[in-house]
């Protein structure tokens, strides 16, 4: 009896998580008529890929997508690089003043200055309205650094370091020739973590960018979503035309939501296991 209830609850919850995702996908490929008359409930009705064609035809949306790809690759590379360097150095017990360096990294994370002072620093560095304003603030995450540090502690044995030091290897040689090749799993985790975070981010872009040519997809999506429906004045009050536009506009929104959420959805099952480990360390923040 209890087990039956358990299965019902779990299946119910899983379906309620899944339903909005499937609905959005179905709505984006259904015909506009079916969508506005409420015929689309779960599966697509009157299959029609027009919304995706419209996305491909819009230079603004294509540029947003490409910008997001660029930010994702850039953010993942920079974040992972910084995290590996800090994580490795901090994993070494013989690092002088290690405790103080740790405070140096932790304090501004625990006590953040807030949006405005960060904006002023970015502004005074002359980064406003540049790609770097999206990539640099928030480039490294201290919790990732701690996870990476823990990884090096556990998987690069001290004896290995001592053995190579006897052979005259410096810390540089050891890090680049021995520690890095052993770091493939943690590199993958960091790349995906920073990549997904950067793909999903929009607030830095909202804050620091005014040139719409640099907007990432999420920001473009936000602007389109918050736009109230099609303005009747634009099309001379033609009701039939207005309805048609509105249907297309709704479909376009659904299709954009799909495009914006697909990349993390594809990436995350590959690192789910590692994310779980990360979440365990991270949730004891």
């Amino acid at each position: 009896m209890f087990m039956v209830t358990t299965y019902i609850l779990l299946v119910g919850f899983t379906l309620s998580v899944l339903y909005p995702l499937i609905f959005v996908l179905s709505a984006s490929v259904s015909s506009g008529d079916a969508l506005s008359s409420g015929e689309v409930r779960l599966w697509p009705v009157g299959f029609n890929g027009g919304a995706y064609q419209a996305i491909l035809d819009s230079p603004q949306l294509v540029r947003g997508f490409l910008n997001s790809v660029l930010y994702t690759v850039g953010g993942a590379t920079i974040g992972t690089g910084l995290t590996l360097l800090a994580g490795y150095a901090m994993s070494r017990d013989d690092l002088p003043f290690r405790r103080w360096v740790m405070f140096f990294f932790l304090i501004p994370t625990l006590f953040s200055a807030g949006i405005i002072p960060t904006y002023m620093i970015v502004n005074s560095l002359g980064l406003l309205d540049s790609v770097w304003a999206v990539l640099l603030p928030g480039a490294m995450n201290v919790f990732n650094m701690i996870i990476t540090m823990t990884f090096y502690r556990m998987s690069v044995p001290k004896e290995m370091l001592e053995a190579t030091q006897v052979d005259g290897a410096t810390d540089f040689t050891f890090f680049f020739k021995i520690a890095l090749p052993l770091s493939k799993p943690i590199i993958a985790v960091n790349l995906l973590f920073y990549g997904i975070a950067q793909w999903n981010s929009w607030f830095n872009a909202l804050l620091y960018l005014s040139n719409a040519d640099l907007f990432p997809l999420q920001l473009v999506l936000r602007e389109i979503l918050t736009q109230s429906e099609v303005n009747p004045a634009d099309i001379g009050g033609n009701v039939a035309e207005l309805l048609r536009r509105k249907e297309l506009f709704d479909k376009l929104k659904y299709a954009l939501i799909v495009v914006a959420m697909i990349p993390p959805m594809i990436a995350y099952p590959f690192v789910q296991k590692h994310f779980v480990k990360g979440a365990l360390i991270g949730s004891l923040k």
């Binding site: 899983t14 807030g114 002072p117 410096t170 999506l221």
Partner: protein, 325 residues
């Protein structure tokens, strides 16, 4: 603290040979040996210095009459003027009330659910079923806030959203889910949709650590599964529960800014304006940007948030011997 400062004077390596008589040479020796580690540390340290410590230094404008022409250091000091302006402003209590209600509601509603989910999942025998449930329910965690809010706007829209179409078809009246009455519920329960599966991870891990022999022994004694969950599983994860509850309380004010900002509209402002969004609005959405005032609001929040975190940490250490510091 860059590598350059740490580099030892030339010739320092010779000192390695002489045995250290006091801590000083030992330190020099350590620096001589490991300056390369500081070189590795330099890029992340410079990043942290510029983008995290820089803003902390810039926070002084909360105590200044900031003007763009004079810059951060050149602007005249104004003392506590802007903190006072915030505390005495007519918005103050609304903003505080909204922040507290939203966060307390979220904490109370969302804290028990991952625990229940984890207990139920843990009771399931079939590992394939368990894995599929986990794979699906983790997914929303990786979706962006913009997309989540987009889904809310589209599915719950009063005129064309599927949810309201269903409500109307069943004879009800369309509900504005982002309106004043529903805003908080929509915010919290969409959060449940997004985070529940992922938040259950830590409890599942704690449950995996419970000795299966306890369950076997209880089974032999004829204990039902409900009793075993109540008397074995729940006490087993109690320390984790307490720690997480306290830590969640500690980070309460710091979460949700982006989502609130995205869900905010002119009509729900009376319930959706929280400290962070108010500060953002003062600085960037008003005709005259009041940077000093906005920074003071941000500082007010950071101080309270840090205080709560330290308090929570202290409580966690006392109650369950787990803490961050």
């Amino acid at each position: 603290m860059t590598a350059v400062d740490m580099r030892p004077a030339p010739g320092a390596t010779e000192k390695v040979i002489t045995p250290p008589l006091n801590p000083r040479p030992s330190l020099k020796r350590r620096l001589a040996k490991s300056w390369r580690l500081y070189v590795l540390l330099a890029p992340p340290a410079i990043y942290t210095l510029v983008f995290l410590w820089g803003p902390l230094w810039g926070l002084q404008i909360a105590f200044k009459d900031f003007s763009v022409a004079l810059g951060i250091t050149g602007s005249p000091w104004a003392g506590l003027k802007y903190l006072e302006q915030f505390v005495t402003s007519f918005q103050f209590w609304t903003v505080i009330k909204n922040s507290v209600i939203l966060n307390v509601y979220e904490l109370i509603a969302l804290f028990p659910l991952p625990i229940i989910l984890a207990l139920l999942l843990n009771a399931v025998r079939s590992s394939r079923f368990r894995k599929s449930v986990q794979l699906i329910t983790y997914a929303p965690h990786f979706i962006s806030t913009v997309v989540v809010v987009g889904i809310i706007i589209m599915l719950f829209s009063p005129d064309s959203g599927i949810v309201n179409q269903a409500i109307v078809a069943l004879g009800g009246e369309a509900v504005d889910f982002l309106g004043v009455d529903m805003f908080r519920h929509t915010y919290v329960w969409s959060g449940a949709w997004q985070t529940l599966g992922y938040s259950a991870i830590i409890y599942l891990a704690a449950l995996a650590g419970i000795d299966p022999e306890l369950h076997e022994a209880a089974k032999v004694d004829g204990a039902s599964i409900v009793r075993r969950i109540w008397h074995i599983d729940v006490p087993g994860i109690m320390p984790v529960m307490i720690t997480l509850l306290i830590l969640n309380m500690g980070s309460m004010l710091s979460v949700g800014f982006e989502k609130v900002l995205l869900m905010q509209n002119a009509l729900n402002l009376s319930v959706s304006e929280v400290i962070d969004t108010y500060s953002y609005r003062v600085a960037f959405a008003s005709s005259i940007p009041q940077y000093s005032y906005a920074s003071a609001i941000g500082l007010f929040k950071s101080v309270i948030a840090l205080g709560m975190l330290l308090l929570a940490n202290w409580l966690a250490r006392r109650v369950s011997n787990q803490s961050l510091f």
